[in-house]
Amino acid sequence: MTKYTDHLGRPVVAVTGIGVVTSLGVGKQENWAALTSGRSGIHPITRFPVDLLNTRIAGTVDFLGSSNQGATALTYELAETAAAEAIGQSGLAGAFDGPLFLASPPVELSWHSRFAMYGQSDEQEGYARLLATASKQNGDVFDSVMFGAVADRLADRFGATGLPITLSTACASGATAIQLGVEAIRRGESDRALSIGADGSATAEALIRFSLLSALSTQNDVPEKASKPFSKDRDGFVLAEGSAALVLESLESALARGAKVLGVLAGCGERADDFHRTRSKPDGSPAIAAVRAALADSGLGEDRIDYINAHGTSTPENDKMEHMSLSTVFGERMRRLPISSNKSMIGHTLSAAGAIEAAFSLMTMLEGVIPPTINYDNPDPAIELDVVPNAKRQADVSAVLSNSFGFGGQNTCLVMAREPV
């Protein structure tokens, strides 16, 4: 008989639907084919002029209808596309009938709108003029500055229940959205939850802000080579866009309706860093605690993890700290434990990253194939890891750890398993 509860007596949380969009394409199949063939989605930026910019490459999603309609429109379309794929796969028809958790970027009035409004009057200056023309704008402009508007529309579109939660834990957001869904199911509030991470916010201003913090790679000449996690010559992350959605469901409910179980969300762990706004604590203790919390929550010992989906941003700081933290948790075994970074191919999708990487972690187990870390031509000798360099690897993977370590100190780790633990 199938056991529906986990080691702590909580409902087992299954995944019954997965949807993904990245710069590599729309949908799981297109993404997986590209990812396992080591193809990069990083390219020269064409969305806006790159004059005077130090970084001129990105992993933007340029092929959707709203790719040039501003961050809010694109974030919605990314979320909607991934969610539709995930729900389609789950076999759930009609209203979704469960809560929605959306990880998405903070919103701001676009420069496009600011310029347009400023041009509508010649009285007063600066913000006084914007305030004077503000109430004459159409509803789309207002919606674009409402932080909950994307989730509100998604809740209507998919028939989610209750008040949808829009969240930001920086680069850990996508993982937090999944964690919130897992917690809601474990509390018995719902049999299912829809967790989405979506980020279509690669504007010039966003790029410049990260650039001013020296966070971005400036290796513009060969864009697809710029993101090189764990390499000696890594120099920053590559800004990117994308989305992923998971349909989470109690195992009992999934099996009762005959759904195919794609994997299990076995554990979530988090720990905030109190050291610095952009740097992590030198001893790695918050990341270590987050990994250990996720393992403990899953009931799996560290020896049961077969593969790690790294945060692996390709910044000098992250990759060093991630290596150090994982070596502390996994000890000697860390040299042989496969770990790869999807960001080597898709860049850093920020709010969406945790969700996209969870989706790819689940596919790794389903397909028995580990996607590589590409651009690993010049290993960092201080980081001794099996990064699955440059080419995919067949492997029987029954449990994965996926890391998300955010700017602002928010660390979230997920443990996923092929079968109920």
Partner: protein, 393 residues
């Protein structure tokens, strides 16, 4: 009574009326105080400004203060007030295992840089290149960190060492409703023992006013109490600068460390009801589900003044014959912090066992001792929530 009941053991509160729970009790219980309103700086719009604050009382390091703009500083400061009151501040074991759910919008943009770009845009055809030119040279590199929604939580971790977990919810008033609801559910189910929830809003920045006015929501002209703005020029909202933080704690956890609670949190009901002809009934249903059979409640209302939303809430409260205190009349609308203020004031009054005196001439006096209060927040555009607090026993 159960060990997993949720009690409120700390309140941090800052508004134009002052700082601290006690100062707010004093201001709100001795007859209607005159609201502090600035009608000139952003005329024709009014707002309720922050009081004088000595930031170093809760944010010891000048370096930390400098890393933040007013929004984050205000939230971090108010979080400190709540932790202080709960007897948790500086207790490494307690704050190190404490969970945190913050409701946040965005931080302050550099208004001078924005204005310079807008001015230059009048004479330049290549506006996107102009953006690159100005933003790469004139933005202060670390300003981004003062703008990121999740960095209020980040600063609270750095300054107050709250590190058990850190989550930031976005979505105007609804973010705070979800934050309180999530913390409540986690404590009740045993997923957490003590959670810091809260948010802040800094109204004294034109970009923040713009957020409302793009929907035509700001009240224009002379200040009026929140219940009396229907039919007046503008959209009905007078914003305020303010912040509220709450320490929500498992009853057993609070008792073990010998803390007295302000009140018990009994129910939280989030909603996303359609804003159509059925909206009043939807609100009435949320009221009924939250209040259940509790009697003689004081309603602490976060009504924003936005015409449609406030009219619907007013009608439902009238139907129930409720005694209401609409605090936006006095401190303004504090957006992401609105529901935290509602719950904080409700808990404060219940803790005192007495209702606030009326906040404007239209509000009825409350008779008898106070044992329960309903906190409401009906979002000015979407989302709503209510919570019930009662004496902690």
């Amino acid at each position: 009574m159960s060990a997993h009941d949720v009690v409120i053991t700390g309140i941090g509160l800052v508004s134009s009326l002052g700082e601290g729970a006690e100062a707010h009790w004093t201001a709100l219980s001795a007859g209607p105080p005159a609201p502090v309103v600035d009608s000139e700086r952003f005329a024709p719009f009014s707002f309720h400004p922050l009081p004088e604050i000595d930031w170093s009382r809760q944010i010891a390091k000048r370096g930390d203060q400098r890393q933040m703009e007013t929004w984050q500083r205000l939230g971090t400061y108010t979080a400190g007030l709540a932790l202080d009151e709960a007897g948790m501040k500086g207790d490494e074991a307690l704050v190190g295992s404490m969970d945190m759910v913050i409701a946040a919008g965005g931080g302050e943009r550099d208004a001078a840089v924005d204005a310079a770009i807008l001015a230059a845009s009048q004479t330049r055809a290549d506006r996107e290149v102009l953006l690159n030119e100005k933003l790469t040279t004139e933005l202060r590199p670390t300003l981004f960190l003062a703008q990121l929604s999740n960095l209020l939580a980040g600063n609270i971790s750095i300054v107050h060492k709250v590190t058990g977990s850190s989550r930031t919810f976005m979505g105007e008033e609804g973010a705070a409703v979800s934050a309180v609801d999530t913390a409540f559910a986690r404590i009740r189910s045993g997923q957490a023992t003590h959670v810091l929830v809260g948010g802040a809003f800094q109204s004294e920045h034109p970009d923040m006013l713009l957020g409302y006015e793009l929907g035509g929501y700001l009240h224009r002209g002379p200040h009026a109490p929140v219940w009396q703005r229907q039919g007046m020029p503008g959209g009905g909202i007078v914003s305020g600068s303010g912040s509220a933080f709450l320490v929500l704690e498992q009853r057993e956890h609070a008792e073990k460390r010998g803390r007295k609670a302000y009140a018990e949190l009994l129910a939280v009901t989030p909603g996303r009801s359609k804003r159509d002809a059925g909206y009043e009934d939807a609100l009435a249903s949320i009221y009924a589900r939250t209040a259940k059979d509790a009697e003689n409640l004081l309603v602490v209302s976060g009504a924003s003044g936005a015409h449609a939303a406030t009219a619907a809430e007013q009608a439902v409260l009238a139907r129930r014959g409720a005694v209401v205190r609409g605090y936006s009349s006095l401190i303004g609308h504090v957006k992401e912090a609105q529901f935290f203020v509602a719950v904080a004031l409700a808990a404060l009054a219940v803790g005192k066992g007495k209702a606030f005196s009326p906040f404007d001439g239209s509000e009825k006096p409350f008779s008898g001792p106070l044992t329960g209060a309903l906190a409401t927040t009906v979002g000015y555009h979407y989302f709503e929530g209510m919570a019930l607090v009662a004496a902690a026993e």
